[in-house]
């Protein structure tokens, strides 16, 4: 059987102010109908650019510099723009990352599907609406007649992704390219979306390219994988073979770095790295943080004003939860978006006032101090936080040195520029940030380096409890592996306790002693990490665990 898509020796260049950048170099692969090809790699590996080249939707500065792309007998490189426009959406279509941004915010989703149908003459003005609703039904959207009139902002992330898939599949294309289709979605939503895509692809015998940074996802849904690094393919093999017997050192590093099975935290690091054994956590001491019946309610933002005599509707973001973090302990707070885990961590951090309940820190009721005044509390330095997005949480106008010095100047015991500077350098050494990077601005640092700055800043004033809000969610897996190990080492060295907020159970398992599972503002389960994850008692925990894609070979 002949290959349906044949890419040979593809090179893509970008013209930039600093000369030509070779984003993709000599990439070759082939794909048959009904098969799924996974392109795996970390940020900057050229995997997305490869797919854009396939559809010829590169930015103005990018162009195909060499090689050959053949799609069903058509030479993509030589096709005219008009021919390409006919192919796009009808023969080749694409599902994008960040579904909400991928849809026109001020056009009804049904109309957006109609646009595609009308463009490719799959519908007429008369039956377009009916056909659009039919497409919505095919991507298993309940109430498609009603959803037709929805705008993207009225739909959840998972629902938006279904719309994007509906757009991509509306004209029954033969090749679908999915570019990180589930990044940023919850793990159960990810499973639903991926299963839906896999089903539709199978029904229609389409060829699929799945681009992802998540090896587990690639392993679960792809027949063949290619691993890309710095614009080149380093390895290409059937999925099973790739995991069983990775040939290239980089592939091995990636596979190791992906949290998997029973691997311990040190197992994530490259094998040639001689890391000292993971510190053994001391037995947890007395309770450090005690949370009791914590409640957070928000007034409802409903359009209808409540009738007189009727209490104003409130939304319970956190519905009376109790838990405890002991000294030296790591506790994971797990749940999907909207479960109240971030609200809980913000209340514990005293950034947000609670509606009811108490928060005791080392025996003192810190919940009694309003969040507004907590900055001057003596406990402020004892409770610090590492934020989710390492880029957004740094002031773009501050150098790394200034960012780390910031809490020291406010809360630290150091007096004078010299003492502060010495402490900053000590902290940089502690988190493994090379001294010469201290005078760089955030945009001059890599994601991992920025994460280190964020961690150094948080531990600058010797906190006893560190709240970590998905600290590695925005990082590549190999960087995540390093940062997770750094966190484990720092905790032992500085005798801190962690409250680790995450949606990723496999990461929580590596880092935490105990885990708390939240759903709809309530705790559904809590207990020893190993026990909860291997033998969950609540159906929701089970669903969360089962939704994690993992290579089963």
């Amino acid at each position: 059987m002949n290959a349906f898509v044949e890419v040979s020796d593809l090179s893509v260049d970008f013209k930039t102010r600093n000369g030509v950048v070779h984003a993709v170099r000599g990439v070759s692969f082939s794909l048959m109908k009904g098969k799924t090809l996974g392109i795996v790699g970390e940020s900057g590996s050229g995997k997305s650019v490869t797919s854009y080249a396939l559809m010829r939707i590169l930015d103005a500065a990018g162009f195909i510099a060499g090689g050959h792309i053949e799609f069903g007998g058509i030479d993509i490189g030589a096709a005219t723009e008009a021919q390409m426009r006919d192919l796009r959406g009808r023969e080749i279509s694409m599902v994008f990352q960040n579904p909400r941004a991928a849809l026109n915010p001020i056009r009804k989703v049904g109309r957006q599907i109609e646009d595609v149908l009308l463009q490719h003459l799959q519908a007429t003005q008369g039956d377009a609406k009916e056909k659009a609703i039919d497409v919505l039904r095919q991507v298993r959207i309940n109430n498609p007649e009603e959803r037709y009139h929805a705008y993207p902002f009225e739909l959840s992330g998972g629902m938006c992704q279904r719309i994007v898939i509906a757009l991509a599949l509306a004209c029954k294309p033969q090749l679908m390219i999915a570019d990180e289709p589930t990044t940023g979605l919850d793990v159960t939503t990810q499973k639903a979306v991926m299963d839906l895509m896999a089903d539709l692809v199978r029904e229609r015998n389409m060829a699929t390219v799945l681009i992802t940074h998540d090896l587990g996802l690639a392993a679960a849904y792809c027949d063949h994988l290619i691993v890309m690094k710095d614009g080149e393919v380093v390895e290409s093999a059937p999925a099973r073979a790739l995991f069983r017997d990775p040939q290239h050192a980089y592939t091995r590093k990636l596979i190791r770095a992906t949290p998997h099975g029973s691997a311990a935290i040190r197992d994530l690091l490259p094998e040639d790295l001689d890391a000292p054994a993971a510190p053994i956590a001391p037995p947890p001491g007395e309770p450090l943080l005690e949370v009791e019946n914590l409640v957070k309610e928000y007034p409802m933002k409903s359009a209808a004003t409540p009738k007189p005599g009727e209490a104003a509707a409130t939304f319970r973001a956190v519905g009376g939860i109790s838990f405890m973090v002991r000294r030296g302990e790591s506790v994971g707070l797990v749940g999907e978006s909207g479960c109240g885990k971030s609200t809980t961590s913000a209340m514990v951090m005293r950034l947000l006032d609670s509606t009811a309940g108490s928060i005791r820190f080392a025996g003192v009721d810190i919940g009694a101090t309003p969040a507004r005044k907590f900055a001057s509390s003596q406990y402020r330095s004892k409770l610090q936080m590492v934020f989710q997005d390492p880029t957004d949480c740094l002031n773009p106008r501050f150098t790394a040195r200034r960012s780390i010095a910031d809490p020291l100047m406010r809360l630290g015991s150091q007096r004078g520029a010299r003492a502060v500077n010495a402490r900053v350098e000590e902290l940089a050494a502690l988190v493994g940030l090379p001294q010469h990077l201290l005078d760089r601005f955030p945009h001059q640092l890599s994601g991992g380096q920025k994460a280190r700055v964020g961690i150094a800043r948080a531990i600058a004033v010797d906190p006893e409890l560190l709240v970590l809000d998905e600290p590695t969610a925005a990082l590549d897996v190999s960087v995540q592996a390093v940062v997770l190990n750094l966190l484990v080492d720092l905790k032992a060295r500085l005798a801190m306790s962690y409250l680790f907020v995450s949606h990723d159970l496999s990461v929580v398992r590596l880092l935490c002693d105990r885990v708390i599972v939240m759903k709809g503002g309530e705790i559904v389960e809590q207990g020893e990490c190993e026990k909860v994850l291997t033998n969950p008692s609540h159906a929701y925990t089970r669903a969360l665990i089962e939704a994690i894609p993992h290579p089963d070979f």
Binding site: M94, P105, V116
Partner: protein, 341 residues
């Protein structure tokens, strides 16, 4: 328009009432705080202290300020803005005759500016770095850097004095034509409605040069905003989706990109309009245009309280109306408006 959007529109309208009241109070106090004595001006240079005092009593200026204010408010409630001491006419009729002149000029200029600025901005954004982008930049730079009285005088010099293709810059109509019966107060439209194309053409040629002068000035922020907004929208993810779906270029550009880019353009449009209406005094002066801007300046110079207050009030009402229109067009374009509110 849905029920909730209608409610927002009504709410915005209600929010304007305190604003208007504030404007009334502030202008009342400010006009009283201005140097100059209207009684002395009204009495003329030959008057003695006694006759000035008489006039002051006649104008009600001898009473304490709070009483004056109450009287002013009572008159306002009956739609009486007082009499202008410089023209001797009721302020209401002065404004009614002059506001349409300003509105006609401003709206014509705005239509002209929009007609040039939006296509220019869109073209510049879709072809960055090309000659049309440079042309856009040149227009914007010239528009903001050339003062209106200069462009006005230059246009008069070239088209009236040198080539003689434009009529004399002497107001809304030359002496050969009579103003058409007032319906809208816009001469061109009124003359056409009256079935008098000759007068309509005469009024049109009169308004052309001042409108171009004003349009050149207004064009700059509009073209700039259109270009910027289009560039930003064109780099958005959903434009890539639309391209990947194979949608035609026109569809992507207009149905997807342009509609999204319209929002900031409309905001700018509202600001520009409000600004133009009051600030085109210079253009009105150059072209002897009997508009409201020149009226207000003349009134201010002689401390003509009633006229100044009437002018400010009219402007405030227009301002509120324009803002309301913008809010409504926002809710029509952007479905998200009204939900975060």
């Amino acid at each position: 328009m849905s029920q909730s959007k209608l409610r927002i529109a009504v709410k915005r309208l209600a929010q304007a009432i305190p604003t208007l009241f504030g404007v009334i109070v502030v202008t009342f106090i400010l006009t009283r705080a201005l140097p100059g004595d209207p009684a002395a001006y009204f009495a003329g240079p030959a008057a003695d202290a006694k006759s000035i005092q008489q006039i002051r009593v006649a104008l009600g200026l001898d009473k304490p300020l709070p009483v004056q204010f109450m009287l002013y408010m009572r008159d306002l409630a009956t739609g009486n803005l007082g009499d202008s001491i410089s023209t001797g006419q009721p302020v209401v009729s002065d404004i009614a005759s002059r506001l349409p002149a300003s509105l006609e000029l401003t709206l014509t200029a705005l239509v002209l500016a929009l007609g040039i600025a939006i296509p220019l901005g869109v073209l510049a954004a879709t072809r960055p770095g090309t000659w049309i982008d440079h042309l856009c930049r040149a227009f914007v730079t010239a528009g903001v850097s050339l003062p209106v009285f200069f462009t006005g005088l230059a246009l008069v010099y070239v088209f009236y004095y040198q080539f003689g293709v434009a009529p004399a810059p002497l107001g809304r109509l030359d002496f050969a034509h009579f103003p058409p019966p007032a319906v809208t107060g816009f001469f061109v439209i009124d003359a056409l409605a009256d079935g008098d194309p000759e007068t309509a053409w005469a009024a049109f040629t009169q308004i052309l040069l001042p409108a171009i002068t004003l349009a050149l000035f207004t064009l700059a922020p509009l073209a700039r905003m259109t270009r910027g907004a289009m560039l930003q929208v064109l780099s958005a993810d959903f434009i890539r989706t639309a391209r990947a779906a194979g949608l035609a270029r026109q569809k992507v550009l207009f149905a997807y990109a342009f509609r999204n880019a319209l929002l900031p353009v409309i905001t700018t449009l509202g600001m520009v309009f409000s600004f133009m209406l009051g600030a085109n005094v210079l253009v009105e002066k150059v072209f002897a245009w009997p508009g409201i801007g020149s009226y207000a300046v003349e009134a201010l110079v002689v401390s003509d309280y009633a006229a100044v207050q009437g002018f400010v009030l009219a402007m405030a009402i227009l301002f509120v109306a324009v803002n309301l229109l913008i809010d409504i067009s926002y809710t029509l374009i952007d479905p998200r408006v009204g939900f975060d509110d």
